[in-house]
């Protein structure tokens, strides 16, 4: 995959009269792992939905391999694994039925077998035949992670992947992320716990009120006092 595998070009998104994202431009390089930071309401989830192709930008565009994702439809969906705040699964079906259904939609061979393998991998094999609505928050999160990974995506978009996970789940997810992405893969994740995010990320992006204010490596993160801004301890401009 060439550099600039996923590119945001002047992406803006408005919902009603409220502008959530304002002219965001950035080029994500393949083989890198990005940590998307920002306070609540800064536009992180909206940006994830736009990058996943779930929401169309109001203006600007997202490009994958120099092609507008709006023109790629299913071909782009096949390349991404997206974990969002919402479960995106059927609570009235069992964990196994959910994963097997989505595996089938993604064209995975032997969807039932693959679903069982991922349930085993995420420590949910014992609960495979239980309805998702009976799962705890952490178990639902594990199931959603399995769904994001089961078709072997090249781009992983993980919005708050550690939310609801216990220590064991967090460590398992870290391990999976490290294994899952090859040198060509791209990971973009958000986390309200930057320390946790930095355990897998190489680079950060900082959003504030829909504007991409800063990005760079860990040294720049410290230099630009992002952490203080996230905790409200600093009120200085970053760029």
């Amino acid at each position: 995959m060439a550099k600039g595998a996923l590119e945001l070009k002047n992406v803006s998104k408005a919902i009603g009269s409220r502008r959530i994202l304002k002219d965001v431009s950035f080029s994500f390089e393949s083989g890198r792992r990005y940590l998307l930071l920002g306070a609540n309401g800064s536009g992180k989830t909206t940006l994830f939905k736009v990058m996943a192709g779930l929401w169309r930008p109001t203006s600007g565009a997202v490009y994958y391999k120099h092609l507008n994702i709006a023109d790629l439809n299913g071909a782009y969906s096949q390349e991404i694994g997206f974990l969002s705040h919402e479960l995106g699964m059927y609570e009235e079906l069992t964990g196994l039925q959910n994963l097997a259904f989505f595996a089938e939609l993604y064209g995975v061979r032997q969807p039932h077998t693959r679903a069982l393998e991922f349930l085993e991998l995420l420590g949910l094999r014992f609960f495979a035949h239980e309805k998702v609505k009976s799962y705890s928050r952490g178990m639902k999160q594990r199931l959603a992670i399995a769904k994001a990974l089961l078709h072997g995506p090249k781009i992983l978009l993980l919005d708050e992947p550690f939310a609801g996970l216990d220590l064991r789940g967090t460590s398992l997810l870290m391990e999976l992320i490290r294994w899952a992405l090859s040198s060509e893969g791209l990971l973009i994740l958000s986390s309200h716990d930057p320390e946790l995010g930095w355990q897998v990320a190489d680079e950060f992006l900082y959003l504030e009120r829909g504007v991409l204010l800063s990005h760079g490596d860990r040294a720049r993160y410290a230099e630009k006092t992002i952490e203080q801004r996230l905790t409200g301890a600093a009120d200085v401009g970053v760029c």
Binding site: N73, S77, Q78, F101, G152, K154, A180, S182
Partner: protein
């Protein structure tokens, strides 16, 4: 792309590697319209077999309606044949509303629709799958409803009449399932969805109901489809709604 880790070969690595191998095989392959629709239909059937939610609700509703009507009207067979089509289609209309709201609630919980929209299948496959499952549930409820109406109102019908009536019910149900599934999708992506559903569904299905009732009445009274335009009206509305809804579905569910 999933990678081979440097050291040990754990079950986790093997699972991820086989996912990777699959990804390579199906790379950029878009799932077809029918394959996607079929998967969605199977999923809805699996849910219904497990929970029997929709069918139980529709059957109980049909039983109650037929029971009440049979007590409310004490009709001779000829009168019953004139009245039955209207009662039948009205019951089907409200049963369909119940069925669609169940289907909507199922897709809404856990934001399952977003999961579907992200899948590499044509958006139309989602619509087609939902139409097929809604139609199946509606036809199943009619299978219960029709014999009940005939039994409670003591109406005798020939095989020809039954065959023609089933044809009319099938054509009408296709239209109801198409319009209902389309509006149910709007309902999920709009904050005023449920109001939109009520506002849109009843006016849009009026031509189907009028054609269905007129044809059913003629079938029961004369054992034939009338020579007038009603059959064409029913088929035309089915086709128009199917084409328009399929065409605009993608735009409706975006955002």
């Amino acid at each position: 792309m999933l990678k081979r880790p440097s050291s040990s070969d754990s079950p986790a690595q093997r699972t991820l590697e086989s996912a990777n191998a699959d990804a390579a095989r199906i790379s950029l392959a878009q799932r077809g319209l029918l394959a996607g629709a079929w998967a969605i239909l199977k999923k809805d059937l699996a849910y219904e077999l497990q929970n029997r939610e929709t069918l139980v609700v529709l059957t109980v509703f049909s039983l109650v309606v037929v029971f009440i009507f049979s007590f409310a009207f004490d009709l001779a067979e000829a009168e019953a044949k004139r009245l039955l089509p209207g009662l039948l289609w009205m019951t089907i209309l409200f049963a369909s509303v119940l069925g669609f709201s169940k289907s909507m609630a199922f897709e809404r919980r856990g934001d399952a629709l977003s999961g579907l929209l992200l899948a590499p299948i044509p958006k139309e496959a989602i619509f087609l799958g939902k139409v097929m499952s809604s139609l199946l549930f509606l036809l199943a409820s009619e299978l219960v409803l029709l014999p009940l109406f005939f039994a409670f109102f003591s109406i005798k019908a020939s095989f020809t009449q039954m065959g023609l009536l089933v044809l009319v019910l099938l054509l009408g149900s296709v239209g109801l399932a198409v319009v209902g599934s389309f509006l149910a999708a709007i309902c999920q992506v709009s904050r005023q969805g449920e109001i939109l559903f009520s506002l849109g569904y009843f006016p849009l299905v009026i031509p189907i109901l009028i054609a269905g009732t007129t044809l059913s009445k003629s079938v029961l009274e004369t054992s034939q489809i009338p020579p007038g335009p009603w059959l064409n009206v029913l088929i035309a509305f089915d086709l128009i709604y199917a084409v328009v809804c399929l065409w605009v579905f993608e735009y409706v569910v975006e955002d």
